[in-house]
């Protein structure tokens, strides 16, 4: 499980409301996705493209259970990296099939526009632009199983709990 993508860097304690504001919950997903970082980085959703990676600082995703990962996937974001995740946000990302890896120090080695290479099995990430690399903890096997299925719902469908 290795990916490479262009990086966007955000700060510490970026909240779920900054990514999925309350008013956007009234909209269908493709429209709601246009409001990610609506106040933090206005216009960002016009610039992000398929395959990009979002890198954040501490306590990433503080806040609610709204499925932010669905919006990132809608926009083409392929992975999240952070110094530290809020645990509900981390679970929510994985459960919706968006790879998310805790890499202490990651925010310090990336700037907007750099290219990141990430290996979720071995648990490292590298700034391809600067060659800085950080080894962290790999994703556990059961988490990789969820991601490999594309999230919990496809996994449950495979196991016969949900209509295919």
């Amino acid at each position: 499980m290795e990916i490479e993508g262009r990086v966007w860097v955000v700060g510490d304690s970026v909240t779920t409301d900054a990514m999925y504001p309350g008013y956007a919950m009234k909209l269908p997903l493709p429209e709601a996705a246009r409001h990610v970082f609506y106040d933090l980085r206005p216009g960002w959703t016009d610039e992000v493209r398929e395959g990009d990676v979002v890198v954040a600082g501490r306590n990433f995703g503080l806040g609610s259970s709204r499925p932010v990962a669905s919006l990132f996937l809608e926009l083409g974001v392929r992975a999240l990296l952070a110094d530290e995740f809020n645990s509900l946000f981390l679970r929510n990302c994985i459960n919706f099939g968006l790879p998310a890896l805790t890499v202490p120090g990651v925010r310090g080695i990336f700037a907007d526009g750099d290219t990141a290479r990430v290996d979720f099995v071995e648990g490292w990430c590298e700034n391809v632009t600067t060659r800085a690399k950080i080894q962290a903890e790999p994703l556990p096997d059961f988490v990789r199983d969820i991601l490999a299925a594309g999230g919990l719902l496809p996994k449950l469908a495979r196991e016969g709990y949900v209509p295919r």
Binding site: S13, N59, R66, S87, N95, L156
Partner: protein, 415 residues
């Protein structure tokens, strides 16, 4: 080596004698709670579920439906409850904010595991329950399989001593903690000590609920006589509390002398390292005041507000909104005269819903406005415009401030 409260509950739920911080376990879930939002977006009715007797469905976030999108959740929820024979279905009229309904119906029980989508599910920790928000996909998975995984985080214990002064509430205890210690990301919080006896159940639930704001995993309280009194009235099945062992291992133990606390207020944006005593806040006028949510829409919160507002008036130019946390709270507040006192003072008392707390309906704030809220969250944009400012305080502080027209210490205003 002993275990903390949460370690004991997770060990029990996983069929293990012992768990340690850092360990990942698979837990049997005792109660799974679905909310209306689950049915509004991406709902597919499952082909089979683990156990209908361990499921509750509660309509709370967007009721009565403010949009067609939300309205469509209703028939799906009703069909699901009917098809699977879900007895614990709290439809509009029997409804409330899920964490309040969970408490009223004894669904959060000592030593057990409770799963719900909503981030404030940690509220159940007030009843010694391992309860936390897990997101819609995971709650759906637990609905189907009856279990999920947890990685045991290190625990920080708050040791409460002395007695809570008048007009100082659970909200103030929480804001003191958040202001002084900041966030507790990937940590469990545990509350106990001799001072706990002076903290009533509604205040414990405010504290447990708000631990989501400091990014904690689980927040659990011990079971004492006060808690047993509550549980006796709300559950008739026997339960097994999880007490912390004498030699439990904590990352930190922090003592709080309750007698030294005063009313606190959080400035806009976050509660972490951003809350100060109201007495230290500069003059701050308010446009909207709000008392509600799973944190502060409890009957006792409404009583406190009603007692302050009875015979007084909300200041000109100020809106005061009060949202009971459940239909039961609403009905009790009507019977006890709280609604009359609030409405006579100029407050708008709404139906029970998550509504204004998450900036969705019934009380959205405009750019440039200042809102003082006794609810869960003060993030930028949380209650409407990102250019509104959201301050957070206790129901007493909010009620007194609504009369004054600016943020005041309720002890001075009500003297």
């Amino acid at each position: 080596m002993g275990m903390t409260m949460i370690e004991k509950i997770l060990a029990r739920s996983a069929g293990l004698d012992e768990v340690r911080a850092g360990q990942t376990v698979v837990s049997e879930v005792d109660m799974t709670v679905l909310i209306d939002l689950q049915f509004a977006t991406g709902w597919v009715q499952p082909l089979r579920i683990a156990d209908p007797a361990k499921v509750a469905v509660i309509m709370d976030h967007a009721v009565p439906a403010p949009t067609l999108h939300d309205a469509e959740a209703g028939p799906r929820a009703r069909k699901f409850a009917r098809d699977y024979g879900i007895d614990r279905f709290y439809d509009v009229g029997r409804h409330g904010i899920c964490h309040q309904v969970i408490a009223e119906n004894g669904l959060a029980r000592p030593g057990e595991v409770l799963a719900c989508t909503d981030s404030h599910t940690c509220a159940g920790g007030a009843y010694n329950t391992a309860a936390r928000g897990l997101g819609p996909a995971e709650v759906y998975s637990i609905l189907c399989t009856g279990r999920t995984w947890f990685t045991v985080a290190p625990t920080i214990r708050y040791e409460l001593v002395a007695t809570l002064p008048d007009f100082v509430s659970g909200k103030d205890i929480f804001l003191h903690i958040a202001g002084k210690h900041g966030d507790a990301t990937n940590r469990n919080l545990e509350f106990g000590g001799p001072g706990l006896a002076s903290v009533p159940m509604h205040d414990r639930r405010t504290i447990a609920t708000q631990c989501a704001e400091i990014s904690a995993d689980f927040a659990t309280f011990g079971v004492d006589e006060v808690c047993r009194g509550f549980l006796d009235a709300h559950t008739d099945r026997p339960y097994t509390p999880a007490d912390a062992d004498e030699d439990a291992r904590y990352e930190d133990i922090r003592e709080i002398d309750l007698s030294t606390l005063e009313p606190y207020v959080a400035r806009p944006g976050t509660v972490s390292h951003n809350a100060i005593p109201v007495s230290q806040l500069e003059h701050r006028t308010v446009d909207q005041c709000f008392i509600g949510s799973c944190a502060n829409g409890q009957l006792e919160d409404l009583r406190i507000a009603a007692d302050i507002l009875r015979g007084r008036e909300v200041a000109p130019g100020v809106r005061l909104l009060v949202t009971p946390a459940s239909q039961k709270v609403y009905r009790d507040a009507v019977r006890l005269g709280y609604v009359e006192a609030l409405a006579d003072a100029g407050a708008v008392v709404t139906n029970s819903t998550c509504g204004a707390c998450f900036g969705y309906h019934m009380g959205v704030v405009a750019a440039g406005e200042v809102c003082l809220t006794a609810s869960t969250r003060n993030f930028k944009g949380r209650m409407g415009s990102p250019d509104a400012e959201i301050y957070m305080a206790s129901p007493a502080t909010v009620a007194a401030s609504a009369i004054a027209g600016h943020v005041v210490d309720p002890r001075k205003e009500i003297a």
